[in-house]
Symmetry: none
């Protein structure tokens, strides 16, 4: 991971650089606005730490030019404490986060980690239990990785059980979740629904605890 630090005060810049380096990041240091702009535009960084008060070109101007040029690396802006308008301006100029000076090393590291993880981690949201998985973004149910056609109500039922996997859910609670709270329907409707689901997911996907309710086991035997 490569980080550009833009900071004109040598002492602060060096301190940040040392902290980040020892945390395993590769760091470059720019000390004025022009240098910063050139580097950010020609090199490729995973993150930029940007001080706003800079010689030659203001930090905000640098940021705006980067964004206008389509550079979209995360930028963490360093502001003076209490400079409230600066923060809003910075954020509207395309900053992803800001940090008030003076700051602690731990906090810098935490922010850096957060921003980098955000820009990297684009995993898909999957809940898994045995050979079942639930893709909550695309609203699909998968058995052994294969998409299974499930109706809206069926999907919501599986979703609820998956979210409470490993726990026995009483029928009353399921019905309450599926329909509005007040709606008192026949318990048989639920049984029919579960039967239809078992046909699609396999007979063992949803277990019955006679007298108590249903569950999707966390780990199948």
């Amino acid at each position: 991971m490569r980080i550009l630090i833009v900071e004109d005060e040598a002492r602060i810049g060096a301190a940040i650089k040392s902290a980040l380096s020892s945390a395993g990041y590769t760091c470059d240091l720019a000390v004025d606005g022009e240098d910063a702009w050139f580097r950010g535009d020609t090199e490729s960084y995973d993150l930029v730490l940007l001080d706003l008060g800079l010689p030659k070109m203001d930090g905000l101007a640098v940021l705006k030019r980067w964004r206008a040029a389509g550079r979209n690396m995360p930028v963490l802006v360093l502001t003076a404490r209490g400079a409230w308008t600066e923060r809003v301006e910075g954020i509207d100029a395309g900053a992803d986060d800001y940090l008030a000076k003076p700051f602690r090393t731990e906090e810098v590291l935490a922010r850096v980690r957060a921003l980098i993880r955000r820009s990297v981690g684009q995993g898909n949201p999957l809940i898994e239990a045995g050979n079942l998985s639930l893709d909550t973004r695309q609203m699909r149910v998968l058995v052994d990785g294969e998409v299974v056609q499930a109706s809206p109500l069926e999907y919501r039922l599986v979703a609820y059980l998956m979210h409470h996997k490993g726990r026995v859910v009483p029928p009353h609670e399921l019905l309450e979740h599926l329909h509005g709270d007040d709606d008192a329907r026949n318990a048989n409707a639920l049984e029919a629904l579960i039967m239809r689901l078992r046909k699609k997911l396999g007979p063992d996907a949803i277990e019955t605890r006679r007298g108590f309710g249903y569950l999707i086991a966390d780990v199948k035997p």
Copy 2:
């Protein structure tokens, strides 16, 4: 744009909701941790405003569970002023930003804008999904590299779905995006629009999730 507000104090929650709603966002409100977790995991939000002190499940725990499940929507944490350790913990748990209470409406809006832009904009003017691509700069839609003639409304619909590719978008949200929030039109208008689009983009470009909405899958099978 859809935002989940998690806040147990009714007055604050209502205030935020009203501010964001009038700024053009669609808002849901959750008042305890369990509700928040379930919604954040089953519904799709473009952003979450998360208060940490919650009944039933702590805000940090909710956030960690979301992240563990791969949910990566931006989360803006609301903390008490000066609770420094809370901030670092929150950021390490996967928060993207935090805001100290009490806060100003303008600041909330600026942060929200920044986070949403970051998660949507991604700088590059070309969004691709399967054989579909969207050139946001020239406002054109391409199928297999060929330009497809799309009307303004059609373009906006594809653009919205592409910006949210891989996510099921409910009709109500689409209509809200295409027309002003308050405009309550016939859902059939949307169906007609989608039908016209399918004729141009191919029948499989836009998938229907009966009972839930439409989506453009990020990776076609």
